[in-house]
Subunit: 364 residues, 2 copies
């Protein structure tokens, strides 16, 4: 399907030239500046941003990613010095802005998993008010042994539920601290002269895109097709036959090896996730506002997002288990949680394989 639209022999596609790239970049730059203004107007500088400032930060990241991706994919059509200078700055910005959101999402994912693994006995809301010292005790410190909770049916039976609650409180403490730090870092970044230089560059981009002289009449399709080929090559190198066999138990291999997370086996999948995004943005450039939604591409992307999220959540659980002086019941719960998230990783690979296969088979 995507192949069809990027086909250089397709007369409809042949019309897309550097002008379309210029229009796309101007639109994304305008969107970036709008989001930046919104972020400032909605108290983006407060300790905890409002819903509007969170949305604005997401929009900032969204346009920064698209600008950076387009500069990469259509590099030969742009002023080299300019685009080489701004790309790492955009990567720094979107990376810095993404951290707070990532920690929040990771914590939510882990608490939901603990909830699911504990039946209905440990609610995320309860975890937040547990008697383990709260966020003020500082991440990395050992949890305080606070005696058996009143609700434990018997000491032995209640053991693991206490473990799940303590694991949740430990993760909440560590990830909330990390999130708070990421928030401060993002605020510092947005107030820095480095950021102002990026914003100035984007303001220029909103009115004038530094295209090469040949770009106006150059065909975008070969560059977009090259981006798609980098994706298909990377996908071809993935262990998709294994991933297509349910319960292949690959994702948890080395789950107890001395080499800590992130698992090296995850890297090619993370790479495909980035290449899929580049391909998706290249399609946006070519098709503009008429860009057809490819549901299968969307499903594949969602599977890879889930893969990334589960991979990082599993690593966070393993990391929390290395906190000194935790109780064995807490460590046990973190072990179950780690393995659960690694199986989510495996499930996401299976989902990707299924959606990708459909995509290939479904191509006319």
């Amino acid at each position: 399907m995507a192949q069809q639209h990027l086909d250089p022999t397709d007369p409809a596609a042949r019309a897309v030239t550097g002008d379309a790239l210029g229009g796309y970049l101007r639109a994304q730059a305008t969107e970036f500046l709008r989001a930046l203004r919104l972020h400032r107007e909605n108290g983006g500088g407060a300790a905890n941003g409002s819903a509007e400032s969170v949305d604005a930060a997401r929009a900032l990241r969204r346009s920064a990613r698209r600008i950076s991706a387009s500069l990469h994919t259509f590099r030969p059509l742009l002023d080299t010095d300019w685009s080489e200078a701004i790309r790492p700055e955009l990567a720094w910005l979107s990376g810095t802005l993404a951290m707070e959101h990532a920690y929040a999402g990771r914590l939510e994912r882990l608490l939901l998993a603990l909830h699911r693994l504990s039946g209905a006995t440990v609610l995320p809301a309860q975890l937040g008010t547990s008697d383990v010292g709260g966020a003020g005790a500082g991440a990395g410190s050992a949890e305080v042994a606070s005696g058996p909770p009143a609700a434990a049916p018997t000491p032995e039976r209640g053991n693991l539920t206490v473990g799940a609650a303590k694991a949740g409180a430990l993760l909440e403490r560590q990830l909330t601290l990390a999130r708070t730090r990421a928030h401060s870092t993002a605020l510092q970044a947005l107030g820095s002269s480095r950021f102002h230089a990026v914003a100035d560059n984007i303001a220029v981009l909103a009115s004038e895109v530094p295209l090469t002289s040949a770009a106006a009449t150059a065909d975008l399709c070969p560059l977009a097709t090259a981006a798609e080929e980098r994706l298909t090559d990377a996908v071809a190198a993935l262990p998709l036959v294994t991933a297509g066999h349910p319960y292949n138990a690959e994702a948890l291999i080395h789950g107890l090896s001395p080499d800590p997370a992130p698992h090296p086996q995850d890297a090619p999948w993370h790479q495909v996730r980035l290449l899929l995004r580049l391909h998706r943005y290249a399609r946006e450039v070519l098709h503009g506002d008429n860009s057809p939604v490819d549901v299968r591409l969307l499903a594949a992307g969602q599977a890879l997002n889930r893969h990334r999220d589960a991979s990082e959540a599993a690593a966070a659980a393993a990391q929390a288990a290395r906190t000194p002086r935790i109780a064995p019941a807490t460590a046990y719960a973190l072990g179950v949680l780690h393995a659960d998230q690694r199986h989510e990783v495996e499930a996401a690979r299976f989902a990707f394989q299924q959606s990708w296969q459909m995509q290939t088979v479904g191509t006319p």
Copy 2:
């Protein structure tokens, strides 16, 4: 396929009467007595039985199960008082003889899983010679903190591998002790007057089966069909739609709940495993030595055996994690191991669903 052979309107099947049941029971009783003699001749009374005595014990269990199952399925054709008296005795015997084998298998399964989860760094052979005190320290006691092992690359990195090794040593100690106790119990059982009464009964059965007067001309098919219907009814009550969706994450639900293993959700699957066995033995009675091998029935049975084994291994890992004063790294490894085995449970349900579906679809 099975349905076809048990069809009462099938002229080939109509010939099978109580005589065939008598022949089957005599053959199984003879096999039981042969296995018992072999067991005695091959030092079945030694602390650790030889390979021959292990085989003989397996053959004893095998025929005891078949006799017991046939008495159950074809109950109306047998002397009621006699068969009601001997069935619980056979269940006691095969249950007692199975324990040693079960503990050995469980330990092997868990050590292999730890090996797989640790990459190549922890071999089962290494676990057996670890410095944690050996089997003599007694199961249930806390492991001895014995300092960092020489091979650990860095204290933090080596942490979890030490955990895997200690978890393996703890499981080995607990399950080896349980196995040794089960071996003693089995030896005591085989020397008991209770067992001699069973053996006397089986010796009578080998020459004369207490069939009712009507049995000789009675059709076995309706009773065999009833056994099959009990199986299909129980399968129909299983959550097979869920089981057929890979990575449904059902098996680990309540993995951290206060209610310890065995998981109540496993019970219907264990029940189907027993009913499948009864159906299989009823087919043996009907078809005698010509019993066709139904590979799909075999695959379904193997999936249910794997389900049972993984369920019990997961419970053993959870149980070991409740050992007082274990190190957090040990508890973490046991948590990963527990979750891994619960996913094996889920994988086994998926495999059963797949083989069962094939069976239904494949029936002409």
